[in-house]
Symmetry: C2
Subunit: 443 residues, 2 copies
């Protein structure tokens, strides 16, 4: 592998195991994949064989707030708690990173700090924390709140929460535990720091009742889409996961984040931007597209129509389902996603029905083609600084995941832009991130 080439980082977006709402009906797919532990364990082992940087688990703190008619068709309705699943996967694997989502709005920082520190010890340095502020208003109702916390407030609390959690992780110097059997000294009290945090949103005394994590701090992951989200990410994140549109928009986002990092004095290589990417592999581009069309056709038409109508800002049920999409007026909806979807419809000559099912399946960034065309696209994103890699979403399980690991990964490796084996042991090492110094103790 040439050391001169930039290196791709790959996460696997695994909650739900496939984002696509038709996935569980695809021929050969495991209908219960999202909450069958044995399947998840096998998927993770396959990802590890493919040298993925990390298994990434998003989360929701409520049953998704969809209309029952759509909800009852969705395999995403339930899932394991991420911080309960990942320790179980840790003992079933050896190298792959394990990133779990935890909410700064509905969690307590002492619990979050302790659980991630525990996961980092149990996995020997493979934990990452995806910091979310939780945008689902139904979640508030599960946590005794009538009103959801306002967006700006959520981000202020998130920033303070981050400071408390990282402060708790630094409670113990790395060398605090001397365990001197002869003298009977278990730890050196001078190497223990009590945080005594009293802030606007949180009051936490500390110290944490677990040793400093193997990685110092587990890797910090964020989505960073909104203005306060971008700023929080530039100041604190080490990985950005998020939805992406066109490659041009991604380059502009990438440049913006790296500039914000420079403005706060952080070296730009201390943060990896890994947008979500839905990948369908075939022996030919046509076959891959046929597979996707088949998958899309398993989305219930009514659900798809509702999603399409929202996206294009007009009631799509008035259109002939078996004709192409007519010209439609401009709307206030996200122009990027709308433009992408309309462009795809034209390029693939999709009918309104097919387009609705596309949107109801997964409308975001996708790469659909052969291992070579997918690798071409990924390489272009990498070398033109649109991203540092991807969080790959698989269309159906296990076949879509197997195809990626068996076919796309070797092509990326052949080009010298992806590792052929793990060279490090920790998630930080996979991502090329340094181990943070303890803020309270010099080495």
């Amino acid at each position: 592998m040439s050391q001169d080439k930039p290196q791709l980082h790959l996460g696997a977006f695994m909650r739900p195991v496939s984002i696509h709402t038709g996935a569980w009906r695809y021929p050969g797919a495991f209908a219960d994949a999202n909450f069958n532990f044995g399947h998840l364990r096998d998927f993770t082992r396959t990802l590890e064989r493919g040298c993925f940087d990390a298994f990434f688990m998003a989360d929701h703190l409520a049953v998704l707030n969809m209309p029952t008619e759509a909800l009852k068709r969705s395999h995403t309705v339930t899932s394991f708690d991420p911080l309960t699943l990942l320790p179980a996967l840790a003992t079933a694997t050896e190298r792959i990173g394990l990133i779990a989502t935890a909410s700064t709005t509905f969690e307590q920082p002492y619990h979050v700090a302790r659980k991630f520190a525990s996961l980092d010890w149990i996995s020997e340095g493979r934990a990452g924390w995806n910091i979310v502020t939780t945008s689902n208003p139904d979640a508030a109702l599960n946590f005794g709140m009538d009103d959801h916390m306002e967006h700006g407030e959520r981000y202020k609390r998130a920033r303070e929460f981050f400071d408390v959690v990282t402060g708790l992780w630094d409670s113990w110097a790395d060398d605090a535990f001397v365990r001197d059997v002869d003298s009977g000294l278990y730890f050196d009290p001078a190497r223990l720091h009590t945080l005594n945090h009293k802030g606007q949103y949180l009051s936490v005394r500390g110290p944490l009742n677990i040793a400093r994590p193997v990685q110092g701090w587990p890797v910090i992951v964020q989505a960073g889409a909104s203005e306060p989200g971008r700023q929080l990410a530039a100041e604190t994140a080490e990985v950005i996961f998020g939805a992406a549109g066109t490659i041009e928009d991604a380059r502009s986002f990438y440049a913006d984040i790296k500039a914000r990092m420079a403005a706060v004095g952080r070296p730009p290589d201390r943060l990896k931007i890994l947008p979500a990417c839905f990948v369908v592999v075939g022996d030919s581009v046509e076959e891959a597209r046929r597979r996707r069309l088949h998958l899309d056709s398993l989305v219930h038409y009514d659900s798809g129509l509702a999603s399409l109508s929202i996206m294009i800002g007009t009631d799509a049920s008035k259109f002939d389902p078996d004709a192409p999409l007519p010209e439609i007026p401009e709307s206030n909806q996200s122009k990027t996603q709308r433009a992408l979807v309309i462009a795809a419809a034209k390029e693939e000559n999709l009918t309104v029905r097919q387009l609705a099912q596309r949107v109801g399946g997964y409308p975001g960034l996708s790469m659909v083609g052969t291992p070579r065309t997918i690798a071409d696209q990924m390489e272009e994103w990498l070398v033109t600084k649109a991203s540092d890699g991807f969080n790959v979403m698989f269309p159906y399980l296990p076949a879509g995941l197997d195809d990626f690991v068996n076919l796309v990964v070797p092509e990326l490796q052949r080009r010298g832009i992806f590792r052929k084996q793990y060279t490090g042991k920790t998630l930080r090492e996979h991502l090329g991130l340094p181990r943070p110094e303890n803020q309270f103790f010099a080495r």
Copy 2:
């Protein structure tokens, strides 16, 4: 195994791995056992070889509030978060139950319900929830509270918390997930219940975003020592774990709890009483006692003196450390523990120093002897209805645990009072407890 004999149930009290503060210094002991995952995994596999009902993990939500002089000598100062550790142990074992502590005072019921449901699925029905109200006032300071919630309030909240968690577990009928690939129906909305709980302490809408646990509900465990604790346990618990004194006191506690159960209409066999018991095994009683004295001698004398002074209600530092304990006046301290300790000192001719180190090590119920004498004691407790078994505490690891599994378990099996192999798969089956019906859906 005769089916006529009552059957012993054994849990392993594993947080800390040894309660004894000298354990980490014992010859051959793993000084880091309490937070070395590999050791904990191996211990759990040994327990499973010994057919233990469950691995039981108590918890603290703060660094223990001891004076620094004692704290710095304690291996109990840190531990893994129980609900992060147990999923990792679940994938390393096949049959043993996994009981984790979670606090009703410092946790949210939605998280608790979801995490235990996840653990129950991942372990295929081996989860138990030890409900605690958390008596450590230092914990409050780690969760944004200046004052610790008053004891009676804590129990009222605990009862409501239990109702919410069990209500959330019953969100989905056992047959809710139909996953009909042809019609595209993933679940039957008529088999989903939204809790809509609004009570004195908690407001939780639901439904839970994970299927009903394998066991219906994970096994409910409580300590049940105080008056409200006993009542809560009689109404809701399926296992009582707690400290015990003399066998007479234990019989009276046992009778009290079973009478309270009858008063609320619960069959008495729906709850197993398993007091904590510290067990030291030797080839002779003398050897076992020597081992314990050696272990006690590793407790720092000052720490021991402080504990002894509190227990006997008088300053023990005024006594000659190398003479027997003089007659001491009555005090307000717990008569049971005090009487036990003073009786032990007389029987074993302990000096004040040895007694202080005994109390600083572990002063509660202990069985110290040969496999035969220990089995005699356990059988007597079982057949005279002082308990349904024990939560065994090991004096040092790994040897103390290995001795129990290799020497005491076969003796119990030979007598026909303990299983020779697991006959069930779930923790409920090990304990002989029925699977609860769903309160919202008939089968």
